[in-house]
């Protein structure tokens, strides 16, 4: 199953790269994310609660990030299982600067198995697409200073914190989290 | 919404959405599958049950609208395992073939004979003129009405 898409994040590329590595942003932006931990070089454990229509469940798995090119691109390989089924995915993500904003493009190849794999391709791809859109909208909100819960006072935007540098591990874990969240995140009701 | 339906003398409590048809409530919530659904638009009569004794199309009623009322279905026509006169007449006269429309006829005729215990043949035809059957051609059903009415 192939899913591709793009999103525009309203910030320059270096802020986007750092946002994608900020665990606070990622943990809130990934729909249904419950846990995100490093488990060795380039590898992370993640637990997320996800659903397609009324087939919901909690999935745990491993994510590996590779081919990192800072502020440009990276690739993710993820595998996870839950009661309703299994997921394996390969994602390629590219960032490019466009007029002071950043265009994030992603290409994913996913294989879904078990019960969740039996709900029909269109449902699956529609839900995955929606979840990716939600994730990026949440990251965008964080970048532009709007609180993720939607109660963003205008004042906060003016006091947006200066970009910070994060250890590579966290950055990579965040990107992995993004990948998993985009593919499986629970649809926000 | 919670409803109480007294079906064949037995109170049943069910929690159903407001839009649940009585036919579906009987068949799927109460598991009384004797009442059948042939068209769901009130024409064929297969879904006929007696509501406080009157024949009604259960496919045209919402379960919530008959809360607290008494319903008789085909499952309630026999007594202590003995077929009612109408049921027995159907068996004697070969008035059913596939049996799908039969429950609707049985309830309709049960009420009809209660209101007119000595029908003429014309009356008998009138009594069943609102129920469709695709198998029997009606000849034996008319005979069964007259047989059930007795001498």
């Amino acid at each position: 199953m192939k899913i591709a898409g793009e999103a525009t994040l309203h910030a320059p590329i270096d802020r986007v790269w750092h946002a994608l590595g900020d665990p606070a942003i990622l943990a809130s932006a990934i729909p249904g994310c419950e846990r995100l931990e490093p488990a060795g070089p380039g590898t992370y454990l993640m637990t997320v609660t996800a659903g397609v229509a009324s087939t919901e469940g909690t999935y745990s798995g491993t994510v590996r990030v590779y081919e990192r090119q800072p502020q440009s691109s990276f690739a993710i390989n993820a595998n996870a299982a839950g009661v309703p089924g299994t997921l394996g995915t390969d994602v390629r993500v590219r960032l490019s600067e466009v007029d002071g904003s950043t265009l994030v493009s992603y290409d994913a190849d996913a294989a879904v198995g078990g019960l969740i794999g039996g709900v029909g391709l269109r449902l699956l791809t529609t839900v995955l697409q929606k979840t990716a859109d939600e994730f990026f909208a949440a990251v965008d909100n964080a970048l532009t200073g709007n609180a993720l819960t939607g109660n963003a006072p205008a004042a906060r935007r003016a006091e947006a914190p200066a970009p910070r540098r994060f250890p590579p591990g966290v950055l990579v874990g965040a990107a992995a989290g993004f990948a998993l969240g985009a593919i499986w995140g629970r649809r926000v009701r | 919404m919670k409803v109480r339906l007294v079906v064949n003398g037995v109170p049943h409590d069910a929690d159903v959405p407001a839009r649940r048809l009585l036919s579906d409530c009987l068949r799927h919530d109460l598991r009384l599958t004797g009442t059948h659904v042939g068209c769901e638009h009130g024409v064929c009569g297969a879904c006929t049950v007696l509501l406080d004794g009157r024949p009604v199309r259960s496919c045209l009623l919402l379960a919530v609208s008959v809360d607290g009322q008494e319903i008789t279905t085909v499952e309630g026509l026999a007594h202590d395992g003995a077929l009612s006169p109408v049921q027995q007449a159907f068996a004697d006269c070969h008035a059913l073939q596939c049996g799908f429309c039969t429950p609707g006829f049985l309830t309709t005729i049960t009420a009809g004979l209660r209101d007119n215990p000595h029908p003429t043949e014309e009356d008998a035809r009138e009594m069943i003129a609102g129920n469709l059957c695709r198998c029997t051609g009606y000849q034996n059903i008319v005979a069964a009405v007259l047989k059930a009415a007795g001498p």
């Binding site: 039996g118 709900v119 029909g120 | 599958t33 004797g34 035809r125 009606y138 000849q139």
Partner: protein, 792 residues
């Protein structure tokens, strides 16, 4: 034949139907997930996109399937069930539409949800984008072919074929008289009270699939599902529940739903059930009957047909899963009980953007009977001869049987009438309806200002087609007899009729016999219930199987009683020596003895254990024998066996409103030996009612865009009791079939075959206007009167 064969005993299966304890498809599977289909609203369109996002809001939604979810054989078109060399451009649908849709109602997506209400909610929110294309509706539009249903089918012609004998052109050229007729029959449909339904359970651990379907063929469905889902046949079971009528529409298989529901059950690991609703049935099941005919007939001064040339056009809808069976039946059964000097029939089977056309009780015979009987009436009118006399002039005589036309019937075998006495049948009918005295009736009515007419119509019906059916008869150690056959039941009383046969063959009380039909676990080799074949095919097979069991029972009993087989009889389930009371052994005990045991399981079975019985010098089970008391046999006919019948009707037409009333309806019917006359009569009653519907009320009203305007019981007029005759006078003739052990012929379709013809005949007789198309309603009759008046 002895006691129960031929007896009009009441049915044994009725109790569960009378008490609401029957198990129709929707009565099963309470915990199954529910299904709703998204269907095309266009008669012809390209499928552009399916957007399911709107459905995500529906709580309880589980799955949505489209063509993209079909893999392997499921992604290929549905099977073309009956290929034929003349069907050069056969087409079948995909289980879910792939690139285009060809009739309103064609399935596009399937929703699975917690219950039917939610499934329909979700289905409504799925947005399908189409690019509508021009639709082809009706035979004339199909023939004109300025638009095509399928781009690769020139002229919309799926098949063209001709059958003939003699030189019809020469015969017509030299005939003393000639007539032309143009006739038309409109679409109707089986419309059983129970719509279609299928329930599937997948056992994940064993990889086995169990399916219940309201189908007329359990074995056909099983094979199709196994093939399409890539399963071993032995891992698929099909069970038919009680079925609320079929009349032909449920012989089609596999319906898309019959494949998709098992697919979903497997994918989701949960039982899944589809129950069709009535509106769906009108646009997603099947129709039948629509044909146009052109007849050229040549005849002599006495009305004998010397040449009959028929050209007809058959509307088979958007796809051809059932091949060309219906036009073949029309082509051959058109001949009825007659022997035209020369005959040629040619048909085009045409595509239209409407629901598929597959057999409906009669299956092309009503159209054929209509053509021939209108022709007979036209000849009689032309020559001023009595309509019955013209027919008599053309009958095949009893001493000409068997009569071989040199044509090929719908079973691929010779059209060869085996038996029948048409003159005797007609004699009976004339007496029954008062044919000869009718002119007086007409005069008396005229004196009162009333208008009456009498009509008559004859038909021959090929019944009991093969390839075969089988029967299994088993006697348990309790003495109970278990009978199984693979074809199915939709109200024909099989559980009684087949028990009657076994009761007689074995000499057991009918109350000890239990019959199971349509369950592949009990009998896996079968064809199905259609074409009036069950009594002939399964009846014969069950009789043969019972005879095998009887033979073995007598053999085993003879040894136990130390008597000769020839001295034994079986009465009320007990084998006894004739004229020697006390020397007897119950069949149940014979069953015990027929299975040599090491381990007894009750006191009676001790009699079969190794220290009690058996010759120590011989193997316990002989080389050519098997343990147990059961028999299995098959009946496979050389060709169909031909029943016949004749109907007459007296109608009254209202001079002002043109309403049509039935005053008298008479049937003389020959289906060979009758197993249960009451059940046969019930079949005739039902058939006549459908015939009345088809003659006066039922049609499918498609508009030019291919929208079915009367897709409900409010507007598709099926007869209530008020529309059928007040009583039907029935008489029988029995010319036994020489082709099967019971001498029976099929009876299922008899009542409906000549109806359009007989009503046309009677109305024409009453009115003096030519009736060339059916059905006819009062407003159409009113119009016909007017144009008739205008022409004068």
């Amino acid at each position: 034949m002895t006691q129960l064969f031929g007896a009009p005993i009441p049915r044994r299966e009725d109790r569960r139907f009378l008490t609401g304890a029957a198990g129709f498809l929707d009565d099963l599977g309470h915990d199954a997930l529910a299904v709703a289909l998204v269907r095309s609203p266009h008669a012809h369109a390209r499928l552009v996109d399916i957007d399911v996002s709107g459905a995500l809001d529906v709580a309880g939604l589980i799955a949505i399937y489209t063509y993209d979810d079909l893999a392997g054989a499921l992604a290929e078109p549905l099977p073309l069930l009956i290929p034929h060399p003349a069907l050069t451009h056969g087409r079948t649908a995909y289980a879910l539409a792939r690139d285009e849709v060809n009739h309103v109602g064609e399935p596009v997506a399937m929703v699975v949800a917690r219950d039917r209400y939610l499934a329909e909610d979700a289905a409504e929110r799925i947005v399908v984008s189409y690019e509508p294309l021009p639709a082809v509706v009706g035979i004339e539009a199909a023939r004109r072919a300025d638009r095509l249903v399928h781009d690769d089918v020139p002229g919309n012609v799926g098949a063209n074929d001709t059958q003939a004998y003699g030189d019809v052109d020469a015969a017509l050229a030299s005939a003393p008289h000639r007539l032309s007729l143009d006739l038309a029959v409109e679409r109707s449909a089986s419309t059983p009270l129970e719509t279609r339904g299928v329930l599937a359970e997948w056992d994940t651990e064993s990889g086995r699939l169990r399916i219940w379907s309201s189908t007329q063929t359990a074995t056909g469905l099983r094979a199709a599902v196994a093939a399409k889902l890539g399963l071993d046949l032995t891992n698929v079971e099909v069970i038919t529940p009680d079925i609320g009528g079929g009349f032909g529409v449920k012989i089609v298989h596999p319906w898309p739903e019959e494949l998709l529901v098992p697919m979903a059950a497997r994918a989701l690991g949960r039982p899944v059930k589809f129950t069709e609703d009535r509106g769906e049935h009108f646009v997603a099941a099947a129709h039948e009957r629509a044909q146009l005919h052109h007849v050229e007939v040549g005849f002599d001064d006495e009305g004998r047909i010397v040449g009959l040339d028929v050209r007809f056009w058959h509307d088979h809808g958007a796809y051809t899963p059932y091949g060309v069976i219906i036009p073949i039946v029309t082509s051959t059964q058109l001949l009825g009980p007659y022997k035209p000097g020369a005959y040629r029939v040619e048909y085009d089977s045409l595509y239209t953007n409407t629901v598929i056309v597959t057999p409906y009780r009669g299956a092309g015979r009503p159209q054929g009977a209509f053509v021939m009987e209108r022709t007979m009436d036209a000849i009689a009118h032309e020559l001023g001869i009595d309509r019955a006399a013209v027919r008599e002039m053309n009958f095949i005589q009893p001493d000409e049987m068997p009569y071989d036309f040199g044509l090929t019937f719908q079973d691929g075998r010779p059209l060869r009438y085996d038996s029948g006495d048409y003159p005797a049948t007609l004699e009976k009918l004339k007496k029954l309806v008062g044919w000869d005295a009718f002119e007086m009736v007409r005069e008396a009515a005229r004196a009162e200002g009333r208008r009456v007419g009498i009509g008559l119509a004859c038909y021959v019906e090929g019944t009991g087609v093969g390839p075969y059916e089988g029967g299994h008869v088993l006697i348990e150690t309790s003495g109970k007899v278990k009978v199984a056959t693979g074809l199915t039941t939709q109200g024909q009383g099989h559980q009684t009729v087949f028990a009657q046969i076994v009761a007689d063959e074995l000499g057991v009380p009918i109350s000890d016999i239990e019959v199971v039909t349509g369950d592949t676990r009990r009998f896996p080799y079968a064809v199905g219930t259609f074409a009036s074949r069950s009594a002939v095919m399964s009846g014969s097979a069950i009789a043969l199987a019972a005879r095998n069991v009887r033979e073995k029972a007598l053999r085993v009993a003879a040894e136990a009683l130390e008597a000769d087989v020839g001295d034994l009889e079986i009465v009320a389930g007990v084998v006894r020596v004739k004229g020697n009371p006390g020397a007897e052994i119950a069949l149940g005990t014979v069953a015990v003895l027929s299975n040599p045991l090491r381990y007894a399981f009750d006191e009676a079975s001790q009699a079969a254990t190794q220290f009690v019985v058996g010759d120590p010098d011989k193997p316990p089970v002989a080389d050519d024998d098997e343990p147990g008391l059961e028999g299995r046999d098959y009946y496979s006919p050389p060709h169909a066996t031909f029943a016949n019948g004749m109907h007459a009707v007296i109608v009254e037409t209202d001079p002002d409103t043109a309403e049509i009333r039935i005053l008298k309806y008479a049937v003389v019917h020959d289906c060979g030996n009758l197993i249960n006359p009451r059940i046969v009569e019930g079949q005739i009653h039902g058939g006549v009612a459908q015939g009345v519907g088809g003659a006066l009320y039922e049609r499918m009203a498609y508009d030019e865009q291919g929208q079915l305007q009367n897709a409900s019981f409010m507007d598709f007029l099926m007869p209530y009791v008020t529309e059928v005759p007040h009583g039907i006078d029935i008489d029988h003739l029995e010319t036994p079939s020489p082709l099967n052990p019971l001498g029976v012929k099929g009876a299922g379709e008899a009542g409906v075959i000549p109806s359009a013809a007989v009503f046309a005949s009677a109305i024409e007789d009453a009115e003096g206007v030519r009736i060339t198309s059916m059905p006819i309603s009062p407003s159409e009759l009113f119009e016909l009167r007017r144009t008739h008046e205008d022409r004068r």
